[in-house]
């Protein structure tokens, strides 16, 4: 309910730095974005992806994931994975924040590894916002 994190320059700066650092950890990371629950781009890695559009889509996906777990009564969704022939998207919420991390990986990374890195950076983002 706070004003959008995307409007806070300090948050945007920290988020950008964190994504750059994340890319340094794995060369398989081809795109990543931090976005608000209601679909605003906070920070993203440079690339061909339309960041604003992707932020909207990622937030819809996050909410649909939550709607599905709610429907099935299995608690909250922890992460979402979309696998395709050319790579996969790993997406999860920044713990305790109205913020989502969504990352695109190529097939050189294993799902387990990608998930582990995404999780740890989601946590780092949460710590930064404390």
């Amino acid at each position: 309910m706070s004003p959008g994190l995307h409007t806070k320059p300090a948050v945007v700066k920290a988020a950008s730095a964190l994504l750059t650092e994340m890319q340094g950890v794995s060369s398989s990371l081809t795109y990543a974005a931090l976005l608000t629950d209601d679909g605003f781009d906070v920070a993203r890695l440079p690339g061909e992806t339309d960041g604003a559009r992707f932020a909207g889509m990622a937030s819809s996906m996050q909410a649909l994931g939550d709607a599905v777990t709610h429907e099935l009564k299995i608690g909250n969704s922890e992460y979402i994975i979309i696998a395709s022939g050319k790579g996969y998207v790993v997406q999860l919420r920044v713990p305790g924040k109205e913020l989502v991390l969504s990352a695109l990986w190529d097939n050189d990374a294993t799902v387990g590894n990608a998930l582990a890195i995404s999780r740890s950076y989601a946590q780092k983002m949460a710590d930064l916002l404390k």
């Binding site: 309910m1 706070s2 004003p3 959008g4 994190l5 995307h6 409007t7 608000t36 629950d37 209601d38 679909g39 605003f40 604003a52 559009r53 932020a55 909207g56 889509m57 937030s59 819809s60 996906m61 996050q62 909410a63 649909l64 939550d66 709607a67 429907e71 109205e98």
Partner: protein, 188 residues
């Protein structure tokens, strides 16, 4: 099972989610997220994917009620949701900066629902700000779409009785338009 998909469209804060909550017989599937645009619509949450509700008619038939997210940045959801719908309830909040312009842009965006079914417009939040008269909305529609006679009602989406009236007016319209062969495209 026969299914009839009705889409609720309109700008942020018009009352789409509220309307579906008023009409649905099942617990509404909601995709609300914290709203970081309180300056546009002062409410805690906003829809980011869709709303979904149902009215069952006997065992073999249901009316499916889908709501869109109101903001343009979710227009990929608009494209997904409009595919199967055969009618639209367009809600416009009277207290928007330019509700008539909002109405016209949603009519334009979802025109195919008029062509293949029917449209009813509900002007909400008229108790908050009186805004333009219904005549103003109709005049604007006549100017931009001279062949359309689209019903425009004031409506409070929190009021189930009024929402039922709006829904029934839409269904009556869709059926009459089919009867007179006025639809130019079929639902996919």
């Amino acid at each position: 099972m026969a299914e009839h998909v009705i889409l609720f469209t309109g700008p942020m804060g018009a009352g789409k989610t509220t309307a579906i909550e008023s009409l649905s017989e099942i617990e509404v599937v909601r995709t609300e997220a914290n709203n970081s645009e309180r300056h546009i619509a002062d409410k805690p949450t906003t829809t980011v994917a869709l709303d979904y509700g149902e009215i069952l008619i006997g065992a073999e038939e249901k009316v499916r009620l889908y709501g869109i997210p109101g903001q343009k940045r979710f227009d990929f959801m608009w494209a997904i949701l409009k595919k199967r719908a055969k009618g639209m309830i367009l809600l416009v909040n009277s207290d928007a900066p330019d509700p008539i312009e909002e109405m016209l842009s949603f009519i334009e965006e979802f025109r195919e629902l008029y062509d293949r079914g029917g449209v009813v417009i509900g002007v909400s939040r008229a108790d908050v700000v009186a805004g333009p008269t219904l005549g103003d909305y109709s005049d604007a529609l006549e100017r931009t779409n001279p062949d359309m006679v689209i019903p425009v009602f004031t409506v409070d989406p929190r009021n189930r009785d009024q929402m039922e009236n709006v829904l029934l007016a839409l269904i009556a319209n869709i059926e009459m338009r089919a009867m007179f062969g006025m639809m130019t495209t079929e639902a996919v």
